[in-house]
Structure formats: C-alpha cells, structure tokens
C-alpha cells in the first residue's frame, strides 16, 4: 500500500506538471523573432499614403494616430479608442468642432518628441501627397484650399505644442469623423518628413514596433521601438506592446509556398488567406489548432467605367449584372465567397438584402441588343493573385458571351490598385476590385467608392468614375449625421439606388482565414476587422 501510495503520488505530481506545462500561458515566451509572409508588398509603407489591407496591417502597430481601433476581434475591434490623444474628442458647435489633447511626453522611435503640430503636418501631408484617403479630411476648414494649391497650410487645424491641444474645425458636421481620426492617414510623423513616398525609408514610429529595414517589393522588418518601453507604453497603457522582439516580413508570391512554409514552421503567419486549392486539406488538418476562418466586412465586384463607351450606357451595365452569376464566383473562390449583388455587405449597419439582377443571360443579351453599343472592344483588368485572376478570366468569358471583344490585363497585386486608380491609365474600361471596411459605418462604402467628390487623378477609389449629383448629395447629407436607425434605413435605400444605376456588378463578400505555424499560441492571435492580423498578439510558444 505504501509503494502504491507513493506511485500514485508520483503519477499525480506528473499529471499536475503536465497540466501546467500544457497551459498556453506558461509555455509561451516573450521575445524571439516572428516571421510573416505576404503575397504582395504593400503599395506603400508611408502612413499618409497607405490604403490597402496589407499596408494597414503592416502599419497598425507602428504609426499610432490620435485615435486608434481597439486591439480586438469582431465588433469590439471596430471600436475607436484613444491613441496618441488622451481621450476621445470633445465635439461641439453642432458637430463642427473636434477638440483633442495630445498626451504629453510621447516620443518617436528616434527620440524626437511628438508634437501637436505634427498632427496638422500629417493631415496636410495627405493632401500634398494626393493620398487616396485625403477626401476623408476634405471637410476640415482650409483643406480644399490646400488641395487646390491656394493655401500653404490647413487653417482649420489649431495646435498648441506646449499644451498638446488640437482643435479641428469642419465646414460642416461629419458623422464619421471620429472614425476617420483613427485611420493611419493622419498618424503623426516628425515635422519635415519629405512630401514623397517614404516606403524605402519609413518615418520613425510611435507604436510598439518600428520599421527598421525596408526593401520595397521584397521585404521589411520591425524591431521593438526603444521609446515604447522607455516612454510611450506608460503613457498609453491600454495599447498592447507586443510579445516578440523582431518581426521579419517577406513577400512570397506563390500562395501554395506560403502554406508550405507555415506548415513547416519556416513562416509563423501568412497574411493572405489560404488559397482555395489548399483550404480543404488545411482545414482538415489544422482547424481549431492553427487555422480558422473569419468573415470579413467586404465586397468584391467588377467596376465599369461609366464615363466612356460601352459602359456609359445603363442598359449595358445592367446587362452585365444579369450576366455575372455570383454562384459561379462562389465556386471560383472555393466556397470562400458568399454571393451578393449589392454594395453594403452583411454586418455593415444599413445592410438590407435585395437582389435586383437575378442571373439571367437571356435577359442580359436582350439588354445588349437594345443598347447596341457601337464600341465592343473592351479591356478588362484584374490582379494576378489567385483566385482573383480566375475571377477576371470568368468575367472576360461573360463579356465575350455578351458579344464584346475582351482583352484581359492581369497585373501584379503590388501595383494593381495604383494602375487602375490612375485615371490616365489607357483603356480603363472595366475590371475586378474589392473593398474592406475601414470602420463600421456605411459611408465608408459610398463616399470613397461612389461619390463624385472622391474621383481623383491618382489613388482614385471611384473606379466606375460615377458622379450623380442627387446621390452625391445624399451621401454628403447622411455623412453629416450620426448613425441611427433612420440613417441605416436611408443607407439601405441608397444601396438600392446605386445598384439601379449599376456602376458595378458586385458578386460577393469574402471569408478570410488565419493560419499560423505550430509554434505560435493560436488562441492569442487577434484578427482585427480593419487591420487583419494584429502583430502585437502573436506570441511564440
């Protein structure tokens, strides 16, 4: 009995030890190097210019704006919280004045103090760089004068470096402005940062990680911001500081290789969703331990240039909507796409499902016959990343079935949006595009993509170049108001009104995925709805 008792005690102790060691927290370590892969290099690492998911994911923990988004998943991750500012803004004057205070004592990674005037300089820089996000701030008093070259600075932003006070005056109320203050576009950078794309030499950081190496097109690396632990973390205690000491990001164009690298532990996380070809096997082997799927608030669509033939004809655009079958695209995206034919995605306030153009090729051909477009030579654009390139090939097939002669141009994802966002690019007839939410407000799907005011010569997001004064006015009016049930109903109506004009043929909302290597604590990884994988949440086991 004594021997048995001793044996049982040893077994019990061993089981306790095993139980403790299997708990994630005790086996995780602080420090180490995180290796991540992207299938394309962000279009820029300059915070004032960056406007892709890749870029925002890369910059989320490097350049902190006055406000930021909570480091959480789902709805919580869309909540705006204080960043470099002490608190959320005080809004007064009927929604036209925003007052914030910069936390005192903040420093950039190079030791330079962060000043209130740096915020003003950052906003001005978005206009000087002709950033695709500048329209978010065009309602600031004096912004349009700066954009037009009639002023050298934005008069509507007052700053006091001594107290850290920042006051922003708007020409009219803007219901989304608090959300927009949390976007990387207006993250302060040191005064004197050149008015050129700084991807090769990113500015000093305010967040927990600074970009220390950058080889555009190939790779970039982060190291811990020395000023974070020493200084900034104490001033922004609610923001996470990250677990690893270094992050190496490399571009791996082949997505199958990305999957292999994660499986073999050569890479800890792949930014891109697992390619359709591998989803089945990855899901089977790793779901729940290294892999999970996450819905995204996004829309995938084919835009049509409404300013030139043949898509300047409404009947042609409506025909395309009847001809494109979202169910086919669901399969092309290997079940990672939910069919939809409208602008707002499920999960976005204001979304109400409707279907104006149920798939009907006969009806589509009838509309084309009625329209009888004289110009039937069309160039369709897509990016070369699978399965977007296959979506492009499908779309080409559909257009050819409608009687068009189609040249398909597939561009690398690194510069796809730069090319189609340049309105002087020849033959910008139609093409593939997608859009993910910047913040949980329906205006984010209308103003940057469909308002006439957002058409820009470069970094254009209104690929259809649609400009309807009555709808522009509705966007503007709704944008001024705070979001409530009334506004949501009006956005739902606006969705339908735009689709009646068919500037796009939307086809679905994407499901994305998180796939990490076995040496990452999977349960701790945070997928933010706007900034995707939160690099501060990755911890090595």
């Amino acid at each position: 009995m004594k021997k048995l008792g001793a044996l049982l005690a040893v077994v019990a102790l061993a089981m306790i030890a095993l139980g403790l060691s299997s708990c994630g927290s005790s086996s995780d370590k602080e420090g180490g190097t995180l290796s991540v892969s992207f299938s394309s290099y962000p279009e820029t690492l300059d915070p004032q210019l960056c406007y892709t998911v890749e870029g925002w994911s890369a910059l989320y923990n490097t350049y902190i704006p006055l406000l930021t988004y909570d480091h959480a998943e789902g709805e919580a991750g869309s909540e705006v919280v204080p960043g470099l500012a002490e608190d959320l803004p005080e809004i007064s004057d009927g929604g036209k004045t925003y007052a914030l205070t910069l936390r005192q004592g903040l420093k950039y990674s190079d030791g330079t103090p962060v000043k209130a005037s740096d915020f003003k300089a950052a906003v001005e820089r978005t206009f000087k760089l002709n950033s695709g996000g500048s329209f978010f701030y065009s309602s600031i008093v004096g912004a349009e004068e700066l954009a037009a070259g009639k002023a050298k600075q934005i008069s509507g932003i007052e700053t006091d470096d001594a107290s850290g006070a920042i006051t922003i005056h708007l020409t009219q109320p803007r219901g989304t402005f608090t959300d927009e203050l949390g976007l990387p576009f207006v993250a302060p950078v040191p005064a004197g940062t050149p008015d050129q794309d700084q991807s090769a030499n990113p500015p000093p950081a305010t967040g927990p990680y600074a970009i220390t190496e950058s080889d555009p097109g190939q790779s970039w690396s982060y190291e811990r911001n020395p000023q974070w632990e020493k200084n900034n973390a104490k001033l922004m205690p609610d923001l996470p500081g990250g677990h690893v000491d270094r992050i190496d990001a490399t571009v791996t164009h082949n997505q199958a290789t990305q999957v292999n690298d994660v499986e073999q532990g050569k890479t800890n996380w792949m930014f891109d969703p697992v390619p359709p070809d591998r989803v089945g096997s990855v899901r089977q082997r790793y779901e729940g331990t290294q892999y999970r799927e996450v819905p995204s608030i996004s829309v995938y669509f084919f835009w049509m240039n409404t300013t030139q033939p043949p898509f300047d004809d409404l009947k042609v655009r409506q025909a395309v909507n009847y001809a494109v079958d979202p169910a086919a695209l669901e399969r092309i995206y290997a079940g990672q796409m939910k069919a939809s034919q409208q602008i707002l995605p499920p999960g976005m306030p204001g979304y109400e499902k409707f279907e104006l153009y149920p798939h009907d090729m006969a009806k589509a051909k009838k509309l084309i016959a009625e329209a009888d477009p004289s110009d039937r030579n069309v160039t369709a654009w897509t990016d070369s990343l699978s399965p977007n390139d296959e979506a492009g090939a499908y779309y080409q097939n559909v257009l050819e079935e409608l009687g068009f002669s189609v040249k398909l141009k597939a561009l690398g994802a690194d510069n796809y949006f730069t090319v189609i966002g340049n309105t002087s690019t020849p033959d910008l007839d139609t093409g593939w595009a997608n859009w993910g939410q910047d913040y949980p407000h329906p205006n984010d799907f209308f103003e940057p993509l469909l308002a006439g005011s957002s058409i820009a010569p470069t970094n254009n997001g209104n690929f259809a170049q649609i400009d309807i004064p009555s709808l522009n006015k509705k966007i503007e009016e709704l944008g001024r108001e705070q979001l409530g049930p009334q506004q949501e109903a009006e956005y739902a109506a606006l969705d339908r009104e735009y689709m009646e004009r068919a500037p796009w043929a939307p086809f679905g909302n994407r499901t994305l995925s998180v796939f990490v290597s076995s040496d990452i604590d999977f349960d701790k990884v945070i997928w933010n709805p706007t900034f995707s994988g939160d690099l501060t949440s990755f911890q090595l086991k």
Binding site: A334, N397, L408
Partner: protein, 347 residues
C-alpha cells in the same frame, strides 16, 4: 587504319538528297522520333474536331456551375468547394476527357490541344524568323568579311552575351505591357506575335554564327571563284552558289531551333511574359496548373509531358537529320572520340 563507320554501307547513286534520305531511313530512332512529332502535330491539328464533335466546348469556355452526366449520375464540373472534376476519359462521352483545368471548369483536353497549336505555331514561326535573320546576317558577314563582318559579328555578340531566358523575360515583360511600335509596325501587348518576335530574335546569333563560319569556308571554294570569274555579283553568288550549299545546315538548325523555341516559349508563358491569358499554350497551362499542384498534379504533368515529348522528338530527329545530311560531322565526332583515324582528304 580503320574506316569511318557506315562508309562502306552507303549505297551509290540517287544524288546527295537521295543518299541522305536513305541514310535517314536506316536510323530507326530518328524515324521513330519523326513519327512521334507528326503524331503530336496531328493531335493539335485535330483540336477543332475534338472541341466541336466530342467535347462540345471551346478552349476558353467556362463551365463552373455546370453538371455533366457520368455513368448515369450528374456530377459538378466544379464542386461547391472549388474542386474541379478529374479525368473522365470516356465516361462522359469524351467531355472532360482529362478533367477540368481548375475552378473555371474549362475542358483540359481541349485546352491541351489548342495550347499545343499555340506552342507549335509560336515555335515554328519564331524558327522561321530566326532562320531568315540568321541566314541573311550569316551570309552578309561571311561573304563580305571586313567591316561588314565586324559590325554584324559584334551585334550578334551583344545579343549572345545575354542569357537567352533572361533576355526573353526582359523583352517579354516590357512588351507585354506596352506592345511594340516601330514606325508603321504596331503590335498590341497581348498579341501572339510579341513572343514570336522575341524568341525569333534572341536565338538569331545561335544560328547566324555557324552559318557565317560555313560561308567563310565555302567562299574559298573553286565553284565560288568560278562564279565570280563569270561575272556573278555578290547577290547572285550568295543566293545561287552559297545558299544551296548551306541548305543541309539550315534544315538541321531549323529543326533543332523549333525545339529550343518551344522550351523558351513555355518558360516565357509560365512566367507571364509570353502567351497572354486566356489563350492557352503548354507553358501557360503549366503556370496555372502549379496553383493546383497539390490537388490535381495532372494539370501540370500533362502539358509538361507534351513539351518533353515534342522537344525530345525534334532533338532526336534533328540529330539524325544532321548525321544523314552531313556525315562528316559524325566522322569528326567519332574521330574525336578516338574510335578511328579519319582518312586524309586529297589535296
């Protein structure tokens, strides 16, 4: 001393071409390769027949949502999770014989046949361009010598200095974006003539230099002196005297060049600098098949095998043709290998 092989077995009479033909016919491996190549050509020529009569679809037509009947049951061409149907062989009356090519649900067999037409057409057309350029430059350089030779040879050296694949990729990428515009000549960026011209251009030195060498030797022969003495001008000498004597060399190089062109076209198309989608070539099929290599490796293996068989058949046939048309090359090779001592040529 030992005699060169086959010297006594060569029958008399029939002229040089007849002799060469008989020599070739004795080379069963070369004949077999020719038969294989002819079968491959017949296979790709039959593409419209197969597409219209058997598969009932074109090479670019998508069938993502369609179902086909296989063994009395309806099957998705592309399943809801994006998996394309595998080879059906004759199970669906010939439709999707080799399966679907991916999530677009295009008939792989039809694309293979049409892709072969593209690959062969590009290879052949490029070989013709190479031959025309190489013969012209080789003749000019070898006949005129002096400054003409110096200039032409240096130009060829410049092109030759670049690795063929890198030069092809650089040109292909540049022209795939903007097309080609030289004076009145305008070729759009997606045109098949872009890869044809690029391949034809980059291989020119590989043919021009040997031709130049032969011309340098031939122009010292008595028949050339005789023609010049009779008042023949340079053009008459090059076209009437030298060119016929170069024909066997040209034919052999042409054949071997087609094989090289096919490999280069496949590489350029694989890298996106050759044939542009949705047109298929064996190279583009390998490129798109790579994305599905884990779930459906046949999509890569099949076009790769076709390239292998075509290049192999052309190379083996080309070697046999060279041996038949220019036995001295085989004599030189075997003497070099120490198998016999060649007879001295009479003074």
């Amino acid at each position: 001393m030992a005699s060169p092989p086959n010297a006594e077995s060569r029958p008399a009479g029939g002229g040089p071409w007849g002799l060469a033909l008989r020599q070739l016919r004795r080379n069963r491996v070369a004949v077999g390769s020719l038969v294989l190549f002819v079968l491959i050509v017949a296979f790709v020529i039959a593409a419209p027949l197969w597409a219209n009569q058997v598969a009932h679809t074109g090479p670019n037509a998508t069938h993502t949502l369609e179902k086909i009947e296989v063994g009395g049951k309806q099957r998705d061409v592309v399943s809801p999770d994006g998996t394309p149907i595998g080879p059906q062989w004759l199970g669906a009356d010939g439709r999707f014989f080799l399966g679907a090519d991916g999530r677009l649900g295009r008939d792989e067999m039809v694309r293979l046949m049409y892709g072969g037409r593209t690959s062969l057409f590009v290879s052949l057309a490029a070989a013709l361009i190479t031959t025309v350029l190489a013969v012209a430059l080789g003749l000019l350089a070898g006949y005129f010598r002096g400054w003409t030779d110096a200039v032409v040879s240096r130009l060829l050296d410049i092109v030759w200095a670049f690795p063929v694949l890198l030069l092809g990729i650089a040109l292909g990428t540049a022209l795939a974006v903007g097309g080609l515009q030289i004076g009145p000549l305008s070729i759009s960026s997606g045109s098949i003539w872009i890869p044809i011209l690029i391949i034809g251009f980059v291989y020119t030195p590989y043919m021009a230099r040997p031709i130049r060498g032969e011309v340098l030797a031939l122009r010292e022969k008595e028949f050339v002196e005789a023609a010049v003495a009779q008042g023949a001008g340079p053009l008459r000498v090059m076209a009437g005297e030298l060119l016929p004597n170069l024909s066997s060399t040209i034919i052999v190089f042409f054949t071997l060049n087609i094989a090289n062109n096919m490999l280069l076209e496949s590489a350029l198309s694989f890298l996106g600098a050759g044939v542009q989608p949705p047109n298929s070539s064996w190279g583009t099929m390998i490129s798109s098949g790579i994305e599905l290599i884990y779930s459906d490796p046949l999509l890569t293996i099949i076009p790769g095998t076709m390239i292998l068989l075509t290049v192999l058949s052309l190379n083996v046939f080309g070697d046999g043709l060279r041996d038949a048309l220019d036995p001295k090359s085989r004599v030189r090779l075997e003497a070099h290998a120490g198998r016999f001592e060649p007879e001295e040529e009479p003074a």
